[in-house]
Amino acid sequence: MRIVVCVKQVPDPSAVIYDIDKDTKRLVREGVPLALDPGDEVSLEQALRLSEATPDSTITVVSMGPEKATEAIRRALAMGAHEGVLVSDSQIAGSDALSTAKVLAAAISRGPYDIVYCASESSDGYTGMVPGMLAELLGLPLLSFVRHVEVQDGRITANRVIERGYQVIESSLPAVVSIWTGSDRARLPGLKGVMSAKRKPLEVLNLEELGLDPATVGESGARERVLELTDVEQRAAGIIVPDDGTGAARIADLLQKTGAV
């Protein structure tokens, strides 16, 4: 099984409040702790399990981002992926979801693959648009918001989250799968994994090497334009008190006042 996992480096969501730089109109990614997106760790976990259950499997992680994103790829390699590809080019900055999908599709199409994993949305941009766009550009079925998959005889069956329950869906391979970000917990890389990750192949490509026209990606390829950024109105500070035995009564008072009781 040739497995591809799309992973993104993001400002560490457990450590950073996401801010937008008013000048560049982009998310602040400099001078903040960065991490492999925890949602992508979960989809990688699923890929690792599939690869462990299927003899002769390889996992390639693919990412688009600045040079620094090699750190996120190394972490994925330490978790157990076999090789990494980073597409990095100054002209990529400012890409929208569609350009991102075009770059990823070009990187993925360089070799054969059976299944492509994404998370259902990233932690920073969280448009959730890349998996569907990627599937469309690759001309593949998308099994979306999936909790787990089973692969047998060239077909894939998946459990998909829907608003009030779940669905069982199936298609042939190759296919794109987006893993619902609430699906699972990811393993921590062990010391052995961290050591071996340093020796695993990690290729860094620019747009020319991918054969992509810079005009179709980055700021110039984006089909959306930000006109204006304004501050969100902050909620007025509330009353926060330790429970001295009257906590429940205080809540009940408020519920009564709002008409909920």
Binding site: L27, G182, D231
Partner: protein, 323 residues
């Protein structure tokens, strides 16, 4: 005078009835131009009958069962077909799981891009301006630049559903569907019918998180929700632990709620959770950690043991209801 625009909504229905999110979107569409709703699949005609109640003047309906049997792509092909024939100015989607799938795939097929997570849309000359929250402290006003239809995906609860009766012309069409459209087959759909109001519509939502400790303690959350005539929600901590189904998840990956009261029990308040509930009118939080981020957004926060306070609160509410 600006010419009237064709503003379309990709409609979704359940059991022949428009979803709340669709009703919100068509209400807004009707204020922007001549509103058309596209409805696909079995019982689509039934759903279309109600569209006129919210100011929609036309419904385009294809009752082909293929839309219910196969994921995403049949709807993408139908929309592509309609857009090429009729050239609407705007196509609005709701951010349901299905809505996100169809919108993203369509944006790539038309090579036109999309604005996601939007909360407002306004006419600006011959074009549109769309607002969306960006990061935690900023709101962005954006426009789409590629010629052709404007695709916008809205967060649920961005608008309210307004009653505005109008004559709605229902037109049936048959989209030609390719073999590839049927690539992903829906084998089975299992939906849980909860007794109370649905999570996205409830006036009161009581949510529990990992801080409750076990499934047994989560029963108290359910009890309080029932007592208040509200719905039960969950953080990912509780869903991960298996105490509640994924369908109850509140937040970025789950449902967006906008109740008059939101009670968070043993939930830390991670940004992905807050995204889905921060627009509640009143937020109450119970957490034993005084530094829990949830307190930053709470109107009333009680620092203490949720398993002690929740039973007391249930008693207190019960007593006051009997009065």
């Amino acid at each position: 005078m600006v010419a009237e625009h064709a503003v379309w909504v990709y409609g979704e229905a359940r059991d022949g009835r428009l979803t709340p999110s669709t009703r919100e979107l068509i209400s807004r569409a009707a204020t922007l131009g001549s509103a058309t709703v596209v409805l696909l699949g079995v019982r689509a005609e039934e759903a279309a009958e109600n569209a006129g109640r919210h100011g929609t003047t036309a419904a385009l309906v294809d009752p082909n069962p293929a839309y219910d049997q196969h994921l995403t792509t049949p709807a993408v092909e139908a929309l592509c077909y309609l857009i090429r024939e009729r050239r609407p100015h705007v196509l609005m989607f709701g951010a349901s799981y299905h809505g996100r799938d169809v919108a993203s795939r369509l944006a790539a097929r038309l090579d036109c891009g999309i604005i996601a997570n939007a909360t407002e849309i306004e006419r600006s000359g011959e074009d549109y301006r769309v607002t969306a929250p960006w990061g935690e402290r900023t709101i962005a006003t954006c426009e789409l630049t590629f010629p052709g239809v404007r695709l916008v995906l809205f967060r649920s609860k961005a608008f309210s559903a307004e009653e505005k009766p109008s004559r709605c012309e229902v037109e049936e069409f048959q989209a030609p569907l390719s073999a590839e459209a049927k690539a992903v087959r829906i084998v089975e759909t299992a939906e849980e019918e909860s007794g109370g109001p649905s999570l996205s519509d409830a006036g009161v939502v009581v949510s529990g998180g990992r801080g409750l400790g076990d499934a047994e303690s989560f029963r108290k959350v359910e009890e309080l929700a029932q007592l208040l005539g509200g719905a039960v929600g969950a953080s990912r901590g509780a869903v991960d632990a298996g105490w509640r189904p994924a369908a109850d998840l509140v937040g970025q990956s789950g449902t967006t709620v906008k109740p008059s009261v939101y009670i968070a029990c043993g939930i830390s308040g991670a940004v992905q959770h807050m995204t889905g509930m921060k627009n509640a009118k009143v937020i109450v939080a119970i957490n034993r950690d005084p530094d829990a981020p949830i307190f930053r957004s709470a109107d009333l926060g009680i620092i203490g043991d949720v398993n002690k306070i929740l039973p007391q609160l249930i008693e207190e509410v019960r007593r006051r209801k009997e009065w």
